[in-house]
């Protein structure tokens, strides 16, 4: 019971700082799950991240996988609701006022001010995940190649994920 409560409260709280979506706060998930609670080791965490990337659906599903690993399907459910609930409620309540806030200076100020921080969070998230996988030079090259292909081509992300799986399997990286 207390593990379920811990899962719920931890992810509930992260929801309030996850500007830039779930991808932005993956290092925070890592801190909670690996460093603070020792629910899993670093390797398991990065492997769950990989599974979430390869699966269809929103990026937030890494939270479901963490919850499942910690406490079965109930853990998955509780963790997922924990991360989704706070802002769903806010969206539901704020929705009717959003249009009316159009000319309020605070709305523009928050939009302008929060965006660059979200950029910093997301970039840090990517770098920290790559670092936690402890890649060699070939691995770093794969990360760089992915960034380049993703920005420069219209290749579907699924192909890149398959490429990573293939490189991993054949021991190229």
């Amino acid at each position: 019971m207390s593990v379920l409560l811990d899962l719920f409260i931890s992810f509930f709280l992260v929801a309030f700082v996850s500007f830039g979506g779930a991808s932005a706060v993956i290092p925070e998930f890592y801190r909670i799950v690996v460093t603070e609670h020792s629910w899993m080791d670093a390797r398991t965490f990065t492997e769950l991240f990989a599974i979430a990337q390869a699966a269809p659906g929103p990026n937030v599903l890494i939270v479901s996988l963490i919850g499942q690993y910690v406490d079965g399907w109930l853990g998955a459910l509780v963790a997922t609701i924990g991360i989704c609930l706070p802002m769903s409620l806010v969206v539901g309540l704020l929705f009717n006022y959003w249009d009316r806030l159009q000319h309020w200076r605070g709305r523009a100020a928050i939009q302008l001010g929060v965006a660059p921080l979200a950029v910093g969070l997301v970039l840090a998230s990517g770098v920290l995940i790559a670092r936690s996988a402890a890649p060699g030079w070939a691995g770093i090259a794969l990360v760089v190649l992915t960034v380049w292909l993703s920005l420069r081509t219209t290749l579907h992300p699924l192909w890149l994920i398959l490429l990573g799986a293939l490189f991993g399997l054949t021991g190229v990286v």
Binding site: A54, L65, V91, L94, W98, P116
Partner: protein, 199 residues
């Protein structure tokens, strides 16, 4: 100068062409979005909402997306809730969010079970290692794309760099970086907007 009549009628046409779905349609629609999205669901949500089903006009979509990206939390879940509320209140919100999440959630649980069973096999670990690196690269690419979309880059991108450095090199806790950083950047943007308004 008043708008030319042609665009007037175009707006009327768009408004009348918009369809308001019930909870069941919302559930089915977002279920399709959730299951077809790999590495980011937003483009699929746009295609469904604006192009295929015409539940929203392009402009309405941008306004709702603005709200959802303005708030923290999983953006796509927020979007499903916003569209659901708009169409049929809280029942629509539940239907949209559930539709979006249920299929991917069950698939994730299935993959999680497979992982618990076969995760120790070296070949599986090698595959996951490669996918982790690609996943990290995809997130970095998303960050770069977001960075290119930041307005008034010369003023605000240094804050992105500072947040990045605080997290990666100084290992500051993320909530502190986010809340402290937002206090700084939002004050700055408020001040700049006030100055613009005076001029």
């Amino acid at each position: 100068m008043p708008a030319p009549p042609i665009s007037d009628s175009a707006i009327k046409f768009a408004a009348s062409a918009r369809i308001t779905p019930g909870p069941a349609a919302l559930f089915r629609g977002f279920a399709r979005v959730g299951l077809s999205g790999f590495g980011g669901v937003l483009p699929w949500a746009r295609r469904l909402l604006v192009d295929t089903e015409r539940w929203l006009t392009a402009e309405e979509f941008n306004v709702l997306l603005g709200l959802c990206q303005f708030l923290p939390g999983p953006n796509v879940v927020n979007l499903a809730v916003a569209v659901g509320v708009r169409c049929c209140g809280w029942r629509g919100a539940v239907a949209g969010a559930l539709g979006l999440m249920l299929g991917p959630f069950l698939i994730a649980l299935l993959l999680g079970l497979l992982y618990a069973r076969y995760g120790q096999i070296p070949a599986v670990q090698s595959v996951l290692y490669g996918v982790t690196l690609v996943g990290a690269g995809l997130i970095i690419a998303t960050g770069i794309r977001m960075g290119l979309n930041v307005q008034q880059r010369a003023v605000y991108l240094p804050f992105a760099a500072a947040a990045f450095a605080a997290l990666v090199f100084l290992h500051w806790p993320l909530p502190i970086v986010m809340i402290g950083g937002a206090a700084l950047t939002v004050s700055l943007s408020w001040w700049r907007l006030a100055r613009e308004a005076c001029q």
